[in-house]
Every structure is written in structure tokens, then in C-alpha cells.
């Protein structure tokens, strides 16, 4: 098994990550079935039409509010949370790591910067808690989830909103703002799925997001220089799977970006359908590929937890055997 690297996160964080992922995936599926209705009409129908989808979206919205509040409380009220604040702040090394990543791709650098390295291997001591991308994810999530929660609560009752902003168009503008805000996260998550599903050392999923660090043995031979990635065997399916997933990710990002440009919330529809614009076959296929990438991410998240359960069982069996051996002595 190649994909067990050094652990990073506590059990609280790994469980939170899985719950947040599930909630956000369902918010995406329900929310963008409304926003990209021109391209995802089938999804809206599948989930029972616009009324039913809006109700489901609210249910997951409540879940998100609870999760966000819980996370903020954990970060503020606990010592572990407060001490992690420093780990989240961007440093000059993060900028260097991004530049070095480009140099690495161009062949001008031999290794990825420690602040970019996903596979730590023998260099675990140099690796910070979060890579530069990881810090970016936290930053974007903090800003986006705050604004999405506020705008989401504002548009909870359209008539309530119209009481303050007079026109239906203004109320619709808030809906559009809410939907357009999520596009940044939608694109970011597609990249996140690719980044942590297709690293050659971890393919098909980077388990440190699912297996807490308390369950991962940290001792290893220190006689190796570098990460030791050359000792791992590449999965035979990696190359074709990565090309396919990379292409789908790029098509998905470009398509939702293009589709979002046309969605400005005019004319105001009687049903909650934000649409309008140059819908064509190509864009429809592309946006649907984007949803496929999200669905694949959801599957990977479930798979990561399956691997954790299997690992837990294996550890329990190992401990059981050890205890038996001791008893036999």
C-alpha cells in the first residue's frame, strides 16, 4: 500500500472534513441544478423540481451553518485550535513554494518546495501542517462560507427581502450574487479533487484527510535522503486515469466559468430558475462533466473513509495478535 504517508490531522478534523465535504457536495448539486438549469435541467427534475430542490438546498444550508459555527467555536475555544491559527497564516515561503512549483514543472528545480510537497516521506520534519494550496483552501473557504451563509440567510425568504429592497429584481440579484459566489468554490473543489486524488504516490486518494494522525505510525528509517518517492511503485492505471480526470477537471472548470458569465438573473422568473444565456450543446456537455467531477469527488470521499475503516480493523487485529502473543509468554 503506497498511500499511507505521515499523518497530519486530528480525528476531529478528519471527521469534520468528511461531513463538510458531503454537505457542500449536496449544496452544489441542489444549488447548481437551479443556477445552471439551462445545462442541468435533468438534475432538477431528478430531485423533484425547483420547489423540492430549493427545500433540499435549505436543509443542507442549515447543516452548513451548524458546521461553520462548530468549526469557528473549535478554533476559538480550544488550545489546539488557537495554536493552529499560526499554521494557517500565509508566509513568504508559500509564495516561494508556488514559484518553485512552476520551476519544478519547467525542469528548473529538482524538488517541490516543502510548503508545496504533498508526499512527505523521509522529509516529514520539513513539511508544514498546510501546503500553500491548503492555506489557500482555508482562506477561500473562510471568506466564501461567511459570505455564502450571510447571502443565503438573506435570500431565505424572498418576500422578506423585498420588504427591504422593494423590487423582485433586487431580491433576484441577491440570489444571483449567492450563486456566482459559489462558483469560485465550485471550481476550487474540482481542483481539490484532482490535487488529492491523482498525486502519483497517493492515487486514488490521499488518505491523510481521512485517517487521523493518531492512527498512523510515525517511526521510519531516517537513512534516506529526500522523500523516497522513487521506492514506491506507480499504479498501472495512474497515467490514463489522471489524463482522463485532468481533462474532465479542466473542461468542468472552463464550462462552469463560461456558464456563470451568462447568468445574471434577468428576466426574473416566476419559478426560482436563474438562467439566461448562450446555452449550447458544448456548454451543456461541459457543465455536466463538471458535475461528474464533483460526483467523483464524493465517491472518493466515501472511499477514503472505507480505507480508514479497513485500516482501523487491520490495526485492531494487529493489536489483538500482539496481546495474544504477550499472553502466551
Amino acid at each position: 500500500m503506497t498511500n499511507l504517508d505521515h499523518g497530519k490531522f486530528t480525528r476531529m478534523t478528519t471527521v469534520f472534513h468528511s461531513l463538510l465535504a458531503m454537505d457542500v457536495f449536496f449544496l452544489f448539486f441542489t444549488g447548481y441544478a437551479i443556477m445552471f438549469n439551462d445545462e442541468l435541467w435533468w438534475m432538477l427534475t431528478l430531485m423533484g423540481g425547483s420547489g423540492s430542490v430549493a427545500a433540499l438546498h435549505r436543509v443542507f444550508g442549515v447543516g452548513l451553518l451548524a458546521l461553520v459555527t462548530f468549526w469557528v467555536l473549535m478554533m476559538v475555544t480550544t488550545d489546539t485550535g488557537r495554536s493552529n491559527f499560526r499554521e494557517v497564516l500565509p508566509t513568504p515561503d508559500d509564495a516561494k513554494a508556488f514559484v518553485q512549483d512552476i520551476q519544478f514543472v519547467l525542469g528548473n528545480a529538482e524538488e517541490r518546495h516543502p510548503n508545496a510537497r504533498q508526499f512527505a516521506g523521509g522529509t516529514a520534519d520539513e513539511i508544514p501542517l498546510l501546503s500553500y494550496v491548503g492555506k489557500g483552501v482555508i482562506f477561500i473557504f473562510a471568506v466564501e462560507l461567511t459570505l455564502l451563509s450571510i447571502s443565503g440567510l438573506l435570500i431565505w425568504s424572498k418576500t422578506g427581502l423585498m420588504q427591504y429592497f422593494a423590487t423582485q429584481t433586487a431580491a433576484m440579484a441577491f440570489v444571483v450574487f449567492h450563486g456566482l459566489l459559489g462558483v469560485v468554490m465550485l471550481m476550487g473543489i474540482m481542483f481539490h479533487i484532482f490535487e488529492h486524488g491523482f498525486h502519483p504516490a497517493f492515487f486514488p486518494v490521499e488518505t491523510k484527510a481521512f485517517i487521523p494522525r493518531s492512527m498512523i505510525p510515525e517511526s521510519h528509517d531516517d537513512d534516506d535522503e529526500g522523500t523516497g518517492i522513487e521506492r514506491l511503485q506507480l499504479s498501472s492505471g495512474w497515467a490514463s486515469a489522471t489524463n482522463l480526470a485532468g481533462a474532465a477537471t479542466v473542461i468542468g472548470i472552463v464550462s462552469v466559468l463560461t456558464a456563470s458569465i451568462y447568468d445574471t438573473g434577468y428576466p426574473v422568473s416566476l419559478e426560482l430558475l436563474v438562467g439566461g444565456g448562450a446555452t449550447n450543446l458544448l456548454l451543456t456537455v461541459g457543465v455536466n462533466i463538471g458535475m461528474l467531477v464533483l460526483f467523483f469527488g464524493m465517491v472518493l470521499s466515501v472511499y477514503g473513509n472505507l480505507v480508514r475503516i479497513r485500516w482501523e480493523q487491520q490495526m485492531a487485529e494487529g493489536e489483538g495478535a500482539e496481546a495474544e502473543a504477550e499472553a502466551a509468554d
Binding site: 512549483d101 444571483v176 484532482f194 518517492i229 511503485q233 466559468l257
Partner: protein
């Protein structure tokens, strides 16, 4: 290219022609749908009131239905943010994709024999992983 000398004298069709014509047929079908998709009128234009008057009539643009300045600005700003972050995220995808390819080339390829880190010593000192 049809094969007229088939058994019992009846003419039949060659497999090549069936394949070629099937491909053309699918292309024509998809092409036709593609073309009529282009007939779509952006319906902001259809739903205008008096579109022929100066400036395009009532509801020419979204901004005309929504006259709260900062709200219009917010929607426009988030459009711009979407495009800019989208382009940056695409750069990140390509950087990681390429970095992954480079890292993959350093790994043992599928089916390749396990390299001994100390040059072929098989005494099992390295975690006993010699097989």
C-alpha cells in the same frame, strides 16, 4: 461498393459502407441539433418591452430592472472575481498535473523490479523487504 455477387443472387451491402454511412448519419444528426441550437435567441432580448425604441426599451439590461447601484456593482464584481480566480485555479490544475507527471516518472514503473536502496543487498536489513 455494394457487393452485388452475394449468395443466392440478391445484392447486399458492404460492411465498410454501413460503417461510413452510420458515422455520417450520426454526424448529420448531431450537426443539425448543433445548428438549431445556434438559432436560440438570448431571451433577455425577447423579453424586452418595446425593443425598437431608443436605448433598447424597458429592461434592456439587468441593471435596468435592478436600480440599486451597489447591488449591481456586487453582481458585476463577483462575475469578475469568478473569471480571475477561475483562470488562477486553471493554472494550479496545470501546474499540479505537470508536477504529478514529473513525480510519477521518478517512481518505479508498474511491474519494474524493486530497486535495492543500498545496491542489491538482500540480507533483509531494510525492514526485511527482500523477496
Amino acid at each position: 461498393m455494394s457487393n452485388s455477387t452475394a449468395e443466392n443472387g440478391a445484392s447486399s451491402y458492404s460492411g465498410t459502407m454501413i460503417a461510413v454511412n452510420a458515422v455520417i448519419a450520426v454526424a448529420v444528426a448531431l450537426g443539425a441539433v448543433w445548428v438549431v441550437n445556434g438559432f436560440n435567441v438570448f431571451y433577455e432580448r425577447l423579453d424586452r418591452v418595446s425593443p425598437t425604441v431608443d436605448g433598447g426599451g424597458i429592461g434592456t439590461a439587468f441593471a435596468q430592472g435592478n436600480d440599486i447601484g451597489w447591488l449591481v456593482f456586487m453582481v458585476e464584481a463577483i462575475h469578475a472575481i469568478d473569471v480571475l480566480t477561475g483562470l488562477f485555479i486553471l493554472v494550479l490544475v496545470f501546474v499540479h498535473w505537470s508536477a504529478f507527471r514529473r513525480l510519477a516518472s521518478r517512481m518505479r514503473q508498474p511491474g519494474e523490479a524493486r530497486a535495492m536502496p543500498d545496491g542489491g543487498d538482500t540480507d533483509g536489513e531494510n525492514g526485511g523487504d527482500s523477496r
